[in-house]
């Protein structure tokens, strides 16, 4: 603990990130540049989220880290250990107990409260990047509110597939002004972007921070005749039986067998602990025994 400054980063770096966070909250959905530092993990492993978390953490925090909903994957485990070591904060897997949650590509199923902060790891913060590769141009497009291209992209989806095929990183409009990429969360999670909690987005390689204050208007882009739909696999969870949570499809044998399980591991475990059982819960328990 004494080997590191609190939460790893030096104080001047934290001030720079903190100023960016305040401006990001003041202009919801706008991408604020920041001088991203090299972190002791490669780009693509959540360096942006880690820097935002480091700037926000206080010693009393209880940290939860999830990767695609799971608390026990490599990325989540290593980031949790990083902050246990450098900030000495308590950690948890339970959504309800956490005060700061760093996430890669999911929003927890359990609604967040005003005492929680959600920090997203963001690969590409620019929603227009795959439509216009030049940063100078996308800056101008945001300045001029020139978002026609995004609608053309969604329209092309409909022309080609008969529906909007974009299923993750689904673009949203924030407070009627900025089009924002909510990071690659499934579009199932988009309605949860209107939250009680503060939501901060950190992109380390791209050196951008953006934010959503609580109770911020976040509208998923759509068309009158093709309204936005928060879709998920049409199944119940095979372990906990939930019919409303976002599901992962898991191949379980070489004969085409498959099961659907909650992507949010804490949600699934909590439900099973409360006695909810899904189609395959019994067989899974036998396997484990």
């Amino acid at each position: 603990m004494t080997d590191y400054n609190f939460a790893y980063l030096d104080e001047q770096t934290k001030r720079m990130i903190r100023r960016a966070i305040l401006k990001a909250l003041a202009v919801p959905g706008h991408q604020v540049p920041f001088a991203s530092r090299e972190m002791p993990m490669p780009y693509g492993w959540g360096t942006g989220g880690v820097q935002v978390s480091a700037a926000c953490l206080v010693p009393e925090d209880r940290l939860k880290v999830i990767d695609q909903g799971a608390d026990d994957t490599t990325n989540a485990v290593s980031i949790r250990r990083f902050f246990e070591k450098t900030a000495g904060v308590a950690t948890t897997g339970r959504t309800s107990e956490a005060t700061l949650i760093q996430t890669r590509h999911r929003i927890p199923e359990e609604p967040l409260t005003r005492d929680q902060i959600l920090v997203y790891q963001v690969p590409i913060p620019e929603p227009l990047r795959f439509l216009e590769p030049r940063e100078t141009e996308t800056r101008k497009m945001h300045a001029l509110e020139e978002y026609g291209l995004v609608h053309v992209k969604l329209y092309e989806d409909i022309a080609r597939h008969g529906q909007i095929a974009t299923s993750y990183a689904y673009p949203v409009k924030v407070e009627g002004r900025y089009v924002m990429d909510p990071s690659p969360i499934p579009k199932f999670d988009n309605p949860k972007l209107e939250s009680e909690a503060i939501q901060l987005f950190g992109a380390g390689r791209e050196q951008r921070i953006h934010a959503l204050p609580p109770h911020c208007q976040v509208v998923s882009l759509d068309f009158e005749d093709h309204p936005f739909e928060a879709s998920k696999a049409d199944h119940d969870c095979d372990l906990c039986g939930s019919g409303t949570s976002y599901l992962d499809e898991v191949i379980v044998d070489d004969a085409g067998g498959r099961m659907f399980v909650c992507s949010d591991t804490d949600y699934c475990e909590t439900r099973r602990g409360a006695g909810h059982l899904g189609r395959l819960a019994a067989t899974r328990q036998e396997d484990a025994a």
Binding site: L25, C56, P214
Partner: protein, 194 residues
């Protein structure tokens, strides 16, 4: 050298700055919420909350403008010793400005950002005699329905909101308490609402 310049900083900078920032962020994310901060003491008449904000947010990268209500040799030396922030002579050069409301005006002189980088705008720390969650009616991002704050003016904040996404962001400080008003908040006179 005057010893008082060197006192009044954080005793545990890393931790106290983290607490101070958490309060500042919660205030900026929820306009109208009033939060308490501790741990810094700058030369009079700077409030404890304003001193905390200076220590948490200012460093050699952030030019600071001190309004006549607060400008003094003692404070300039305190800011230089504790933050290293350059104290500038013109409002238009400042990233942060500190003072009483009347003394900070005219607001038109501060940087409001550019269309491409609206974040390059000034943040004003306004020292108040009183901080109460009543008075002007606030709506917008961060506010569930409505919030109230005894703002020193309504027209100025309304004009600032009209510049969105450009504009100034404000902290209000009184004793050890602070509140914030980002440019995104709509401000209404309570007389008009009823």
């Amino acid at each position: 050298m005057d010893q008082s310049v060197m006192t009044g900083g954080f005793s545990d900078p890393s931790i106290q700055a983290a607490w101070g920032f958490r309060a500042a962020m919660n205030a900026m994310a929820r306009p109208g919420d009033i939060l308490a901060v501790q741990g810094a003491q700058a030369p009079a008449p700077v409030s404890e909350a304003a001193a905390v904000l200076l220590l948490v947010l200012c460093d050699p990268d952030t030019p600071v403008w001190l309004a006549p209500s607060h400008d003094s040799d003692a404070l300039r030396r305190w800011v230089a010793f504790h933050t290293g922030a350059p104290v500038v002579a013109a409002r238009g050069e400042a990233a942060f400005a500190l003072g009483r409301w009347d003394s900070l005006a005219p607001l038109g002189d501060y940087r409001i950002g550019t269309a491409e980088y609206p974040d390059r705008s000034a943040t004003l720390i306004v020292e108040m005699d009183d901080l109460r969650a009543e008075g002007a009616v606030l709506t917008g991002p961060g506010i569930k329905e409505v919030a109230g704050l005894n703002l020193p003016d309504v027209a100025a904040f309304r004009a600032n909101r009209a510049l969105f996404p450009l504009g100034l962001d404000f902290f209000f400080t009184c004793g050890d308490r602070l509140a914030a008003l980002p440019r995104s908040t709509c401000v209404t006179d309570p007389a008009e609402v009823s």
